[in-house]
Subunit: 245 residues, 4 copies
C-alpha cells in the first residue's frame, strides 16, 4: 500500500518511535488505527488514538489518514511535563490531545481511543443525556472501574452523552465533569460527534471499545424495531415488533 | 499483526497444541476465530470455540481477544476424565466449557461454536420460545440429526431460545434440557446473549453456523418489512411491505 | 488458510484442472467463489459457479465450502456429450448443473453464477412475478442480450422470479421456460432461494452479477423507505419518506 | 489475484504510466479503485477516478472492472491540448472524462473521484435539489473552497443534486452550472446515479469523498428514524424515534 508523504524533518530522538517490536506503542497505534478504519470508525481522517507507556504519551497527529500512518508520524509527550519530547515536522498535534490526557490524569488509563462510530452518533440522536442498555451478555466485557471486576449481564451499562462544541479541545471541561459525574464509566459519547473509550492498557481499551460499539450497534437495531434497551427483561414482549406473534 | 502477550509458563506437553498441520485443532481454532471476528461474531473477547479430536477437547481460553490467539493459548481437556491435560499458564478456562462439553456428551459433536452474533440476539428479542423459519433454500444446509440427511427447503427449521443467566456455566441445565426437548436441533439461541452451534466435525459446525446465521440475518430483515418467517409460502403477499404492489 | 480435505482419487486427466495460469477456469472458479463468500453470497456451502471453455464445462462440486475449494475439486463435463471427463473422487456433482447447462445451451453463455444473495431473497419476497427497476445509472451495466449493447439508465430492467422447488435440478423446466418468456434477461431470481446470472464470458458474468446485486440491494433500501423502484422519475417525491421535506 | 486481459498494443510512451513509485498517479488510481471496490462504491465497472499531475491527466478507462486495473490500462491526456498522449489499445475513454475535466478547469482540482455509492443514490431519492446536513463532527473534514480552512461542525454542508441524463458526458453542462451556482461545494450528487467528489490533490479528494460518504450514510440512517439532517440542534428530540423516551 502506498502511504501519505513521509516526514522530512522532526525533532526528538527517533528511537522513541522506531522499533522492531510490533507491540511498541508507535507500531500499535498504526496497526490498530488501520483496523478501526476498516470498521468505518476513523474514515476521512476522523478519530484518533493514544497510548501511554510509563511517562510517555504516544499520540497520532491531527488531520491525517488514520489508516496510512507510520510510526515516525507519532507525537510523544511527557505526561509529567506536558511537553512534546518527539514531534514529527509536518504534522500538527491532535485537538483530541487534552481529552486523551484527561483519561490519563483522571482515570490512570493506559490508552484512549476516539472514533466517529456511526452507531455512537445514532445513539446520541436517539437518547438524551445518557445511553443505557441492560440485560445483554456483551455487557460483561465492561469493567466496573471503581472496584475490581466487570459488570454482570443483568446490570445496566450507562454512558453519559455530552454536547459537542465547535473546537474539540473545548470538550475538555465537560468531558472532565462527566468523568466526575460518572465515576464508573469507561466511555463518553459526544453528541453528533462520536465516542471516547479508554482502558488500563491498549488491549483493554480496544476490547472495551469493541464491546461498547457492539452494544451501540445493537441498540440502534433494537430501537428500529421499537424495542427499548433498558426496560428490563421481557420488555421486548410488548414492543410493536411483536405484533406478528 | 501483533498479538496478545505470550504465555510464559504452561503445564502439559507442548506437542498437544503445536503443529505444522493447518488442520490441527489448535491451529483451526485460531484461524476460524479470526474469521468469526471479521464477521462481527466474537468481538470484544465474546464467544468462543472448541474442537474434539478423539478423547481430546481443545478449548479457547476465557476473556482473550478471539482474533489474536495462538495455538499455545489453548486448553486441552480429556473428555474421558474431565481433566485438563494441557493448560496455558496465564489464562483461565472459558465459562463456556460445560456448554461445549454438553454438545460432545449429549450429541457426540466434533466441534462447537459460540458467537455473540447480533442477528441471534435480535432474533431472541423478536421471537418467544422458538425461532422458526420455513421455505428458504438455505435451510437445506441444516442436518436432520436424528436421521441421516438434511432438511428440505420447504420444511421448518426450529431453534429453541433459552433464557440467559448471570453466569455462563449455569446455562448448562437449561441447555441440556433443550437438547432433550429438541432432539433434532443443531443450535440453541440464548436470549440477549448469542448462539451455540455444533456439528459432527469442525467443518460441519462451521457450515451449519454460517447457514443458521444467514437465516437469522434474513429473518431480521423479513421482520423489518413485517413479513413472517414461518407462515408458509405466499404469506409475504399480504404483508404491509406489499402495499406498493 | 487451511482447506477442506484433499481429493484422494480422481478420474480423468489432471491437466484439465491443474494450471499455473490464474485465468484457467478451474483457478478462476476458486478465486471468484472466495470473493463471493466474502460478499455473503455463498456462505454455508450455498451457491456455485460454472465456466465454459470451448466444449469443456467446469463446475464446482456440491456441498463444499465455496471459499475453500482447490482446482482439483472441479468437475469437467463435455458440453457435446454431456459426460464428465474429469471427476474428483470424493465429491458429488452440483444439483445446479442442469441450470448452468441451460445457460450454455439456451443462451450460449460462457459462465454462470448462482448465489444465495440475501438481497435477491428479499426482493423475491417483496415482488410478485417480476422484479423491475428503472432510472438508475447502474442499469447501464446490463446487456440487451437480443441485440448488441446495454440498457439505457432510463430503461427498465426486468428479472423474472420463478418459484422454488424441493430439488434444485427440478428448477430446470421453469428456468428454461423463463429463458423463453424473457429473452432479454441475464438473470433469473428463484423465490426464497437466490439468483442465477450468466454472461458471455466469466468476467461479463461477474460484472452483470455485481451490477444486478447492487440494484437488488438498492431496491430493498428504496422499499424500506416506501419508494417504488419502477414508477418513473419523480415518483419518490410522493413517497412517505418525503414527509420531512 | 488474476486480472483482466492485458493490453496488447498501445500508443504513447510507456514511461507515462509505468513506475515503481507507489505514489505515481497510474499506480494510485489502481490502488484506490481497488479500495473503493471493497467499499461497494465502484462494483460492476461503475464509477471511476482521475488524477492530474502538472499538465497530465490520468484517467481510468471505460467499462472495466475498477478493482482489476493495471497502470498500463490508463489513459493520459494533456490538459492544455485536450489530446490523449497515451492510450491503451483495447479500451475506450471513460464517459466521465468531461466531468473530471470540469473539476480541473473550473476548480483547479488535483483529483476527482466518481462513485455509484448507494448512500449517494438513496440521498438523491430522499432530498430534492440539495442535500443538507448540519451539526455533525465529520463536517469538519469538508473544505470551504472559496476561502482557506474547513467547515465548522455547527455549519451546514450543502451538496447540489443534479438530474441524471441518458449519456454521462451530457451531464457536463448541468454539472458545470452547479459548480457556478454552488461555488463552495466539493461534490455534486447525480440523482439515481452517484456522486462526483474532487480535491486539490489525490489524498484530499479521497479524504473528502470518505467524509461525505460517511455523512450520506449517516443521513440515510437518520431519515430511517424520522430525524431531519439539517433542522438544528435538538431537532431530533421531537422526532418519532423518541417516543420511547
Amino acid at each position: 500500500m502506498s502511504s501519505a508523504p513521509v516526514v522530512r524533518k522532526a525533532s526528538g530522538p527517533d528511537e522513541l518511535v522506531i522499533s522492531h517490536d510490533p507491540n511498541h506503542p508507535a507500531n500499535l497505534i498504526c496497526e490498530l488505527c488501520k483496523l478501526f478504519y476498516d470498521q468505518n470508525w476513523v474514515t476521512g481522517t476522523g478519530g484518533g488514538m493514544s497510548i501511554r507507556e510509563g511517562d510517555n504519551i504516544y499520540l497520532a497527529p491531527s488531520g491525517v489518514q488514520k489508516e496510512r500512518m507510520s510510526p515516525e508520524n507519532m507525537f510523544v509527550m511527557s505526561l509529567k511535563t506536558g511537553q512534546y519530547i518527539k514531534t514529527p515536522d509536518i504534522y500538527k498535534p491532535s485537538a483530541c490531545t487534552p481529552l486523551f490526557l484527561a483519561s490519563y490524569t483522571k482515570r490512570n488509563a493506559g490508552a484512549c481511543i476516539h472514533t466517529h462510530s456511526q452507531a455512537a452518533v445514532m445513539v446520541s440522536l436517539l437518547y438524551d443525556k445518557e445511553f443505557k442498555i441492560s440485560n445483554v451478555e456483551q455487557i460483561k466485557a465492561i469493567p466496573r472501574v471503581t472496584e475490581a471486576g466487570y459488570l454482570e449481564n443483568f446490570e445496566t451499562m450507562t454512558i453519559p452523552i455530552i454536547e459537542n462544541v465547535p473546537h474539540e479541545e473545548d470538550l475538555t471541561p465537560s468531558l472532565e465533569q462527566a468523568l466526575i459525574d460518572y465515576p464508573t464509566t469507561s466511555a463518553i459519547i459526544v453528541r453528533r460527534h462520536g465516542i471516547y473509550v479508554w482502558g488500563e492498557n491498549v488491549w483493554k481499551a480496544k476490547i472495551i471499545n469493541e464491546a461498547i460499539d457492539y452494544l451501540l450497534e445493537l441498540a440502534v437495531k433494537m430501537r428500529s424495531f421499537g424495542i427499548p434497551t433498558d426496560a428490563g427483561l421481557g420488555s421486548e414482549r410488548v414492543a410493536p415488533a411483536h405484533e406478528l406473534h
